[in-house]
């Protein structure tokens, strides 16, 4: 069995590398947030108060992003290997054992990734603090601390999120009859699981609670609660994505006629059909847009906002943004092997390589535009709530921030879709088609 696990890890190295990378990035981002609290505890006094104010928002941003990104990636990790699990069952591995093996793989990979992530954070903490707190001379002498007390909760959190999210998918994979898995090698649907209902409803309650508390909040205290509304709303949208995402994708892409190009037609049908894969890519970008847009919208609406400095943006948003964009890119990279075959099918049907490359580029555009629409909705909720609470009548929407993050998201997804496609197109077509 150990041999089976190891050979599976090697055979699906691309998928597991993506999972490891996300666990590592989540560990690094989590370690930065944890070090903020640890440093505050060590520092004490007024320095601690200043750091606590930052750490609350930072931890909220990091937690929301980590839950969505790590959860999506873990689910995708299992979904992409459904065929392998079916083959295991056909040679006599019991479904319960499949679940145990997959859960163990996730546990080990996420544990290694998060530990490496915490270690990777150590050399970054000093320069990050110096840059981020450059505008606060009273905090210049702070020495960032992480220690075991900061790292262990991060490792436990990341390992739990990845393992639990993947474990549920593994349970579903084990329950699915193997013949069905082999027949539908790429199950496109994204089920609305109990976990999604619970997570989504908790996020709805959190948003409702924050909005309800706004009228009683002093105008100079509004920015922090307002900052949290957009990412939490993005969390709601990500959790309930299976209920609407396919329709949204089909709906807005229908505005561009299929006749404009074969590449657009292929990209459109592929993204709307592969909802599980699309959700895994779109949700992290949605969070990224909501984080950045929400910060600037809150800052523009609340009277205590002042000017958002580069340092505060890096400290508050840098990690979660990086994690979200990395998550979106990783999901595309992980699904690449499955896509190789799809591209080969299109070439076999008569497409030129240029059409296939253009289809990959259009997919990146569809992912990013869809995520931007959803992210803008989340920011809109925050802006309208802020405008209502602050009674300014002119809510701020952080449009420049939304545009900037959407642009970066588009660039990354373009690289993640087009480059592997170009490489895949160089492979031998018959071999790729015969791969399954």
């Amino acid at each position: 069995m150990l041999r089976l696990i190891l050979s599976d890890l090697v055979a699906n190295a691309r998928i597991w590398l993506g999972t490891l990378l996300i666990a590592l990035a989540t560990g690094t981002v989590g370690a930065v947030a944890a070090s903020d609290i640890r440093t505050a505890i060590e520092a004490g006094g007024t320095d601690a108060l200043a750091l606590y104010a930052i750490s609350g928002v930072m931890i909220a941003f990091t937690t929301i992003t980590a839950l969505i990104v790590a959860g999506s990636v873990a689910g995708l990790t299992v979904a992409l290997q459904q065929r392998a699990y079916a083959l295991w069952q056909l040679v006599g591995v019991r479904p319960a054992y499949v679940r145990i093996v997959v859960t163990t793989q996730l546990l080990v990979v996420s544990l290694i990734g998060s530990v490496l992530g915490c270690l990777a954070a150590l050399p970054l903490l000093g320069p990050l603090y110096r840059f981020s707190l450059a505008g606060s001379p009273e905090l210049a002498d702070l020495r960032p601390v992480l220690g075991a007390g900061g790292a262990v909760p991060v490792v436990v959190f990341v390992t739990l999120v990845v393992t639990l999210a993947g474990s549920r998918s593994a349970g579903r994979a084990a329950r699915t009859p193997p013949i069905r898995s082999l027949h539908e090698t790429d199950r496109p649907d994204q089920p609305m699981t109990a976990g999604r209902w619970v997570g989504g409803l908790i996020a709805v309650l959190a948003v409702a609670g924050i909005v309800a508390s706004l009228p009683g909040t002093a105008p100079d205290q509004l920015s922090v609660p307002l900052m949290l509304i957009a990412p939490l709303t993005a969390g709601v949208l990500a959790a309930f994505a299976p209920l609407y995402l396919a329709r949204l994708l089909r709906g807005w892409t229908a505005l561009v006629p299929d006749q404009i190009s074969s590449a657009w037609y292929l990209a459109r049908s592929s993204t709307a059909y592969g909802v599980a894969r699309s959700t895994a890519t779109i949700s992290p970008i949605t969070v990224a847009v909501a984080l950045a847009g929400g910060l600037y919208a809150a800052n523009g609406t609340a009277s205590d906002g002042g000017t958002v400095t580069a340092g505060s943006v890096v400290l508050l948003l840098g990690g979660p943004l990086l994690l979200a964009l990395l998550g979106a890119t990783a999901t595309i990279f992980m699904a690449g092997r499955r896509r190789d075959r799809e591209f080969a099918l299109v070439v076999a049907a008569g497409a030129t390589r240029a059409v296939v490359l253009a289809a990959a580029a259009w997919e990146a555009v569809i992912y990013t535009v869809t995520a931007t629409i959803l992210g803008a909705v989340a920011v809109g909720v925050a802006a309208l709530a802020g405008g209502w609470a602050a009674d300014t009548g002119t809510p701020s929407f952080g449009l420049a921030a939304i545009g900037a993050v959407a642009g970066i998201g588009l660039l990354l997804t373009l690289v993640a879709t087009v480059l592997p496609t170009a490489v895949a197109l160089r492979r031998d077509l018959p071999q790729t088609l015969a791969a399954e």
């Binding site: 496109p188 074969s262 049908s269 099918l345 299109v346 008569g350 497409a351 030129t352 059409v355 077509l429």
Partner: protein, 239 residues
């Protein structure tokens, strides 16, 4: 008589792993296929049947020798020119159907025409699906179709475009007897009107329907049979 597909001293070798020894699969094959002809390629597993088909169709580059498709030398064509040649003149039927999973049966049939920017009416698409007996499954995606139905969609996709030559690689290999017979009946309608069918098969009865059978063994043409019976094919393979 003009020649549709021609291979001359075709050699194809594959390296065994990175930097490993090179294993010859085809060792100098010369053959021609004329318009309207139905040619079957048979032989034991590993004899090079599928490799010959892929080299003939330009899906696999030859190691040495020459492949000419519709009078054009495949080795001298750019990737895009080759893709265009395949798109406009060639149809493929694979053992594993190779339908696009995100498209319905109707969309799969229409795809090659769309890619070739060729006008194909809804009536033509529906007719192609009706010809293979799948009118009611037109809006189903491949995942909701049986193996035989998927293969018939793949056939409808090929037949709708009326390509000059159809390459079929074990088209009935994954099907039950009844579905296989249905697919063979449909494929048998391809040759004629200048269109040719080149089919790799293990099925002796299927091979016996061909005008000509190439029997491959160890990468060379061992025997060539005209209008053989299934027994003739069996004897040629085993002796």
């Amino acid at each position: 008589m003009p020649v549709l597909v021609e291979v001359e001293n075709l050699v194809k070798s594959f390296p065994l792993g990175r930097g490993g020894p090179v294993v010859p699969v085809l060792r100098g094959i010369t053959a021609q296929v004329s318009p309207g002809e139905f040619v079957a390629v048979v032989g034991p597993s590993g004899s090079g049947k599928s490799t010959l088909l892929y080299c003939m169709s330009g899906l696999e580059p030859a190691t040495a020798g020459e492949v000419r498709l519709l009078g054009r030398t495949v080795g001298s064509l750019s990737r895009n020119a080759l893709a265009t040649l395949r798109r406009d003149h060639i149809g493929f039927v694979f053992q594993s159907y190779n339908l696009i999973p995100s498209l319905t049966a109707r969309e799969n049939v229409a795809l090659p025409a769309r890619l070739a920017r060729r006008r194909i009416s809804a009536t033509e698409i529906d007719q192609a699906l009706a010809d293979v007996g799948l009118t009611e499954q037109a809006s189903h995606r491949p995942g909701a179709l049986s193996g035989g139905q998927q293969q018939r969609v793949a056939l409808a996709r090929v037949l709708a475009l009326r390509p000059d030559v159809v390459f079929a690689d074990e088209p009935t290999g994954a099907l039950d007897t009844e579905s296989g017979a249905q697919v063979l009946d449909l494929l048998a309608k391809v040759p004629g009107d200048g269109r040719s069918l080149i089919m790799v098969t293990h099925d002796l009865q299927a091979a016996a329907r061909a005008d000509r059978v190439l029997v491959l063994r160890d990468g060379v043409i061992h025997r060539e049979l005209d209008h053989p019976s299934a027994d003739d094919v069996f004897t040629a393979i085993t002796c």
